[in-house]
């Protein structure tokens, strides 16, 4: 394994981790407010499709991105309506969102499959000076702008959660809604807010999939990444840095399995090895989840997660 292979792998890994990062960060905010949103896979698909549709019709990738985020927010709003106002079971409501999102994506995307790559999308943009740093420059600073947005988002959310009153209020609502309510906070309003913001971020993740990583729409584009993202929240311990690192690890793992499948070696070309490479991200997610739940003394899940206000 030479340096340029590592450089390419890590650089592509950073890009690949975008949908996982945004979806997992969105899920983190939602869960910190006490609402489990299992609908990530559906939200991701619907927003990825919407992003392509709007990007194609307007000719602007930026407009597509905005539309994808709006779609994510709208679907999360449905989840908030079901779970916060109507007090539905959070698990079943999330599953219904998976159906709705998959259906919307598949029906709305039927005419988009033929476009393939011919959709306005985001191109890498090298940051001057920083991208000249050997190795790291290429890995970290020669990326699509969505990656730079993620760099800014991690410390911002870290600060928001740990160092602002609003962040503390969010945690209060998630840990103990009754006490938060007694403090004078509106549990309903805060949960709506963070569930929808979480959905917007997941929408951003979906759009990054269809406008940056693999431009264009195909049915089932996200391939379970929404589910992996939910797992990453647990792995990352409901903390922005942890979630970002977990997303980077999995993005690189996904990229690695793709690279190995595409290589020319006789061993790697055998179908049996290919099978295990394709299984690897899902098996890896299971193994990491088990290790985390087995060995971490305290997972850090919000106490009020899954409970209605």
């Amino acid at each position: 394994m030479n340096a340029s292979f590592m450089e390419n792998l890590l650089s592509a890994g950073v890009e690949r981790s975008l949908p996982l990062f945004y979806a997992a960060t969105g899920e983190t905010l939602s869960e910190l407010s006490g609402v489990l949103n299992l609908g990530q896979e559906g939200i991701m698909l619907a927003s990825a499709m919407t992003a392509v549709a709007v990007s194609h019709t307007t000719g602007s990738a930026m407009a597509g991105l905005m539309a994808g985020m709006a779609m994510g927010g709208a679907m999360a709003l449905l989840h908030a309506l079901l779970t916060v106002t109507l007090r539905a079971d959070q698990v079943v409501a999330g599953l219904s969102l998976v159906f709705v999102g998959t259906g919307i994506a598949s029906v709305g995307g039927a005419g988009l499959v033929a476009l393939r790559q011919g959709v306005p999308h985001f191109e890498p943009w090298a940051i001057p000076l920083l991208s000249d740093i050997p190795f790291l420059g290429n890995v970290l600073f020669n990326q699509v702008p969505l990656v730079y947005a993620a760099y800014l988002m991690i410390p911002t959310i870290h600060w928001w959660l740990g160092h602002t009153r609003a962040g503390l209020n969010l945690r209060a609502v998630g840990e103990n809604p009754a006490a938060a309510s007694a403090m004078g906070l509106s549990v309903t309003r805060l949960r709506y807010l963070y569930v929808v913001v979480g959905g917007v971020l997941t929408g951003l993740g979906g759009a990054s999939l269809s406008l940056a990583i693999t431009p264009g729409w195909s049915d089932g584009l996200s391939n379970g990444q929404g589910w992996i993202a939910i797992g990453l929240v647990i792995v990352g311990g409901w903390r922005p840095w942890g979630v970002a690192l977990a997303a980077f690890f999995f993005g690189t793992l996904q990229r690695l399995t793709l690279d190995l499948q595409g290589s020319q070696s006789e061993f790697l070309d055998s179908p049996l090895v290919g099978l295990f490479l394709r299984m690897a991200p899902y098996l890896g997610a299971i193994v990491v989840l088990v290790l985390v739940t087995r060995f971490k003394k305290r997972l850090g899940a919000p106490e009020g997660l899954g409970k209605p206000a």
Binding site: G103, I286, T293
Partner: protein, 371 residues
């Protein structure tokens, strides 16, 4: 508790008719919302709904036979989901368990049973293998949850993707027939008998594909009803579902029950996979399931997690799957399922609460006074 101007008053008694009325309201709401969404996508709701109803239910014996045939895997997977959900376990990986059951049954039919064996022997062995493989696949998230509290929703779901890659490897590579994405056709002794097999004696049965798996599914439903409502074990499971703490306090082995329920739930889905390959496709092939294992989640929920309700819900949703095959684009069935599930759970509020218009806050009402 309040929602806007409405006050939520917990219901003190549940009647079957009120619960059915709420369910009906949910489904009706789903139809209205679906209509709006279809219009938004430029599809004609009238055409969609009439196609579904016609090709699934009103199209004569063939239509009904097709609908009942597709209901078989839905009943079996739906039973698996219902048992797990009632026990507080979210097994959402029935699709993967179905894949593995179909795979094991195919392996038995093709490689284990000597050619010319009796059908009874062959099919029994296939069913056992299918159940066992599904049970094993379901047991994995069960064991991980029991031992390490690993989230069973995520693990069972991840295992769907793993199972799909696993069977595709056999469909495309190992057992592929001449490079096509299917295994060779089973020998006749591995086919579940169908109504059309008796067409020589009863000509009107010609072309009807309903197979013996339907009887098997109905038997399984009765068995599950007995297990859940008439056995001590089923009682333990339901108690665990309502409160694991109470179950533990009462001396029930929560961990063992988790593994048992997940295995049973997976086994039923595995059996569905066996019934599908032995009764309908007679081989393992790419995309043989239009998401039965996922639709089963909706089946179980519409059935209010009741084994006998599962039969009714499965037949109705099977109609949706059969009808939606005629409709382009293909995602309509999933969209309608999602919308119906959302509106049904939205209306669930009314099963537990009555809504009362709250009066403006004034002095406390006098006890015993006029309301």
């Amino acid at each position: 508790m309040t929602i806007g101007p409405w006050q939520l008053i917990p219901r003190t008694e549940y009647t079957v008719s009120s619960r059915l009325a709420v369910l009906g309201l949910g489904v009706a709401g789903g139809a209205v919302l679906s209509t709006l969404l279809l219009l938004l996508f430029g599809l004609s709701p009238v055409e969609v709904f009439s196609t579904i109803i016609h090709s699934a239910f009103l199209g004569g014996f063939y239509a009904i036979s097709d609908t009942l045939t597709q209901a078989i895997p839905l009943i079996l997977c739906g039973l698996g989901c219902a048992v797990a959900f009632r026990s507080g376990l979210w097994n959402v990986g029935a699709e993967g368990q179905l894949f593995l059951g179909a795979w094991a049954a195919t392996g038995v039919a093709t490689f284990v049973v000597p050619p010319g064996s009796s059908p009874v022997w062959t099919l029994t062995l296939m069913a056992l293998a299918g159940f066992a493989a599904g049970a094993l696949w379901g047991a994995i998230p069960g064991i991980l949850k029991a031992r390490y509290q690993t989230n069973e929703i995520l693990v069972s779901l991840m295992l769907v993707y793993v199972a799909s890659e696993w069977i595709n490897y056999f469909i495309y590579v190992r057992w592929s027939q001449g490079g096509f994405q299917m295994t060779p056709l089973f020998p006749k002794n591995a086919w579940l008998p169908r109504l059309s097999d008796w067409a020589a004696e009863v000509p009107s049965l010609a072309g009807l594909t309903l197979h013996l798996g339907f009887v098997l599914a109905l038997l399984a439903a009765v068995l599950m009803w007995f297990l859940m409502w008439r056995s001590a074990r089923g009682f333990e499971w339901k108690v665990t579902g309502i409160s694991p703490r109470v179950a533990r306090y009462a001396g029930m082995s929560v961990k063992r029950n988790i593994v048992l329920v997940m295995s049973l739930s997976g086994g039923l889905a595995g059996l569905a996979g066996m019934a599908e390959v032995a009764g309908t496709v007679h081989r393992l092939q790419d995309n043989f399931s239009p998401g039965y294992g996922f639709t089963a989640i909706l089946v179980a929920w519409l059935a209010r997690l009741h084994p006998l309700g599962v039969i009714v819900a499965a037949i109705l949703l099977s109609g949706l799957l059969v009808g939606a095959k005629e409709i382009q684009p293909g995602g309509v069935a999933v969209l309608l399922q999602g919308v119906i599930l959302s509106t049904v759970i939205a209306c669930d509020l009314l099963t537990h609460y009555r809504l009362k218009r709250s009066v403006a806050k004034g002095p406390e009402p006098i006890p015993g006074g006029a309301r």
